[in-house]
Symmetry: none
Subunit: 217 residues, 4 copies
Amino acid sequence: MTQKTHRPAHQARAQATRQSLLEASIEVFSTHGLHGGSVSRIAELAQSHDRMIYYYFGNKEGLFIAALEEIYRRYNEAEAAVTLDTSNPIKALTAAVEFFVRYFRDHPEFVTVLNSENLYRGKHISQSLLASQFSKPAIGLVDQALSLGKQQGVFRAETQSRDVYLMISAMGYFYQSNQYTLSAFLGEALNAPKCYEHWESFVIDAVLRTVTQSKKH
Amino acid sequence: MTQKTHRPAHQARAQATRQSLLEASIEVFSTHGLHGGSVSRIAELAQSHDRMIYYYFGNKEGLFIAALEEIYRRYNEAEAAVTLDTSNPIKALTAAVEFFVRYFRDHPEFVTVLNSENLYRGKHISQSLLASQFSKPAIGLVDQALSLGKQQGVFRAETQSRDVYLMISAMGYFYQSNQYTLSAFLGEALNAPKCYEHWESFVIDAVLRTVTQSKKH
Amino acid sequence: MTQKTHRPAHQARAQATRQSLLEASIEVFSTHGLHGGSVSRIAELAQSHDRMIYYYFGNKEGLFIAALEEIYRRYNEAEAAVTLDTSNPIKALTAAVEFFVRYFRDHPEFVTVLNSENLYRGKHISQSLLASQFSKPAIGLVDQALSLGKQQGVFRAETQSRDVYLMISAMGYFYQSNQYTLSAFLGEALNAPKCYEHWESFVIDAVLRTVTQSKKH
Amino acid sequence: MTQKTHRPAHQARAQATRQSLLEASIEVFSTHGLHGGSVSRIAELAQSHDRMIYYYFGNKEGLFIAALEEIYRRYNEAEAAVTLDTSNPIKALTAAVEFFVRYFRDHPEFVTVLNSENLYRGKHISQSLLASQFSKPAIGLVDQALSLGKQQGVFRAETQSRDVYLMISAMGYFYQSNQYTLSAFLGEALNAPKCYEHWESFVIDAVLRTVTQSKKH
DNA sequence: CATGAATGAGCTTTCATTCAT
DNA sequence: CATGAATGAAAGCTCATTCAT
C-alpha cells in the first residue's frame, strides 16, 4: 500500500520527463529533420539527458516514431473537434477547407515532420502500431460535407471524398511546405497574411467549383 | 598561351569530374536529405574523392546550391520544351497539367531536394545567383494556356495564372511528395499506375472546372 | 522475532535471485569477459534487474569475484568427488589425468573466466577471502597418485606433485583455451571427438613417461 | 616526377603513424583485452588520433586483426631465426623447448592477445587473409628436431610433431598465461626467476622423456 | 525485497574540412 | 588536376552506478 501512495508522484515526474522529451523532439525534428536533429539537442531542449531518450524510447528512431504518432494524434484530435453545419453543405465544405488550410499553416511542425517521414519512404509509420488508428477518421470531415451536399443535390454524385480530401490537403499542405522555394520563385512572400487569405479563398472556390453540380438547363 | 592550347583536354576531364559529382549529389541529397547525405558518399558514388567537392564547389553547402540550381534548370528546360496547342485552350491547359503532374512523378529527386531546401527555410536558394533566371519562365506554360482561354472567352477573366499554377503544382507535387504517408493513411498504394491515372484525370477535371466560365444564360 | 518466523520464505526467494544472478554472471563473463559482459545483460539473463546486482554483490567487481569463487568451488568439488584406485598408481594417475583433461573440456566457462582473471593480473582472486580455502586440496588428486607410485617404486622419487599437476593442467587447459587459434593454425578442428581422444591418450602417455622409473639394468 | 620525389616523405610519415598505432594497439589490447582496450587510449598512446585508426584499419576490429597478424608475424619471425644443432637431436629439441618457453615468458602480449582472440572464438583470425601464411612454418622447429632424432634412432618413430609441439606450447603458454591465478593457488610467485628455471628444466625433461626411445634390452 | 527513474562518463564511429605535396 | 594524410567536433549509443520510493 505504501508503494501505491508513492508511485503517483514517481509516475507523474516520469510522465513529465517523457512528455518534455517528446515535445522537444517534435520541435527539433521539425526544424532539422530526422538526421539533422540530434538527440543531445533534444535532451537539452527538454532539460533532460540523452540517456533518458534511450530509457523511454529505445533509440532515436523510436523517438521519431513517437513524435510522428503524436503529431498525427493531434491532427486527428483537432479534426474531431470541428463541428460542421449539417444543414448547409456549402458552408460545411467551406469550413472543412478552412480547417485544413489553417491547420497546415498553424502547424508547420506537422508538415516538416511528415516531409521527413516521406524522405525516408514511410519506414517509421509502417512500424507504428498506432498508425492504423489514425487512418480511419481522417477523411471524415470532407466525407461528411460531401455526403450532405450529394443528398441535397448540390454536389455531384460521382465525386469521391478521397479525391476531394487529397485536393484540399494538397493545396493547403503544398502552400505551407514549399513556401520558401515558392516565395523565391514567385517573387513574393507567401506567408504574408493577405497572401494567405487570397489563397484560402481561392482554394475554397476551386473546391466548390470542382464538386458543385453545374447549372445546366 | 601554351596553357590555352592544351586546356580543352584538361577542361573536358575536369568538367566530367565536376558533372559526376553534381549528378551524384542530386542522387544522394534526394534520398538522404542535406544533412543525411554525406560528402564521402557523394564522392564515392561519383567515383571521385571528397577533396574534389571542395575543389569544385567550395564546401558541402556550395554543392547543395549547385544541385538545387541544376534540378531547377532541368525543370525549366523540360517546361520550355513543351509546346501547346494554341488553338484549343482546354487541350492546352490539359497538356500543361499533364506535364506538371508527370514531371513530379518522374522526377522524385526534384521533389525531395526541394523539400530539403524548404526544411532549411530556403537559405540556399536565396544565395543562388542563378535563381532569378529560373523564376521568370516557370508559370509560362499555365499563363499561355490561360490567356488563350480568356481570349476565346472559355476561361474566366478573373482567374490568375499564379493561382492556377500553384493549384496544379500542389496537386501534382503533394501526391508524389507525400505518397508514403498517404499510402499508409489511406490504405492504398498511391504509386500504382491505375491510381496515378485516376488522380491525373481528377486534377485535370478540377483545374478545368475551376477556370472554366460557368454556363449561365 | 516475528521477523525470524517468516524469514525462511523471504530468504529462499532472495537466495534464488542471488543464485540466478550468479549463474548468469558466469555465463556472461565466460562468453564476453569481465569488460565485455555488462551488468544489464547479466540481469536480463537472470530475469532480474541491474539494481539487484548492487544489492547482493555491491558492484560489478564484487559479482565477478563471486563468480570466480563459484567456479573454483565447483572445480574443487568435482575433484573431491573423484576416488582413485589406491592399489594401482598407473591407473590412479591415468584417472587423474582424465579427470582434469575432461573437466577443462566440459567446463569452458572455468577456462575463460580464469583467463579473464589472469588478464587483470589476478586482482580479484587476491581480494577473495575464500580463495585460500581452495588452494589446498587442489593438487590432492595428483599428489595421491604420485605418492602411491613412489611408495611402490613405480614412479621416480624426485618428481614433484606440483610440477606434474602443472603439466597435466597445462596440457588439458591449453588445448581447450586455445582451441580456436590452434584450429586455425594447425588446420584441423581440435574439438572433434577423435582429436580429443587422441590428445587425451597422448597426455596420459606423456605424463606416465615423465614420472615413471626408467627401466635400466 | 615531382610527385615521386615528394611521395616517399609522405609515405614514411604515414607508415610511422600506422606503425605506432599498431604498436600501441598491441600494448593496449594485451593489457585490457579487445573490449577493455579503447580506441582513444590506443590513439593517445600512439600520440595520434582516433580518426587515424579508422583511416588505416577501418574500425576497431580491423585494428585488432592487424594486431593479431603482427604478433603472429613476430612469433614466426623469431622462430625462423632459431638455428638448431643438426648433429645432436637432444640438444636440438632442448633448444626448441627453450625457445618456446622463453618466447611466451618474454612476450606476454602474445599470450594475452591470443587469449582475447580465443574468448571471441577465433572470429578475427578466420577473417585474416595472412593467417594461412603463418600456419605452415610454425611446427617447423619441433619437426626438425624430432625428425633428426628419429633418423638417429634416439627418438621414438611413432611420435608426432604436432603433439609434441602442442605439449611444449601448452607447458610454456599455460605457465605464463595463468601465472596470476596459479600463484595465488599454489602460494608461490611463478614469475620468480628460480621458479622459471625450475619449470624450464622440468619441461625439457618431460618432453625428452616423452619422445625418447626407452632403453630396453 | 524490489523497482522505476535518473545520471554522467565513456564508448565506437562518422562528420565536414584542411594540409601538404 | 588530383590525392594521401590529418584533424577536431560531434554523432548515436551503452556503460556502471545511485536515488527515491
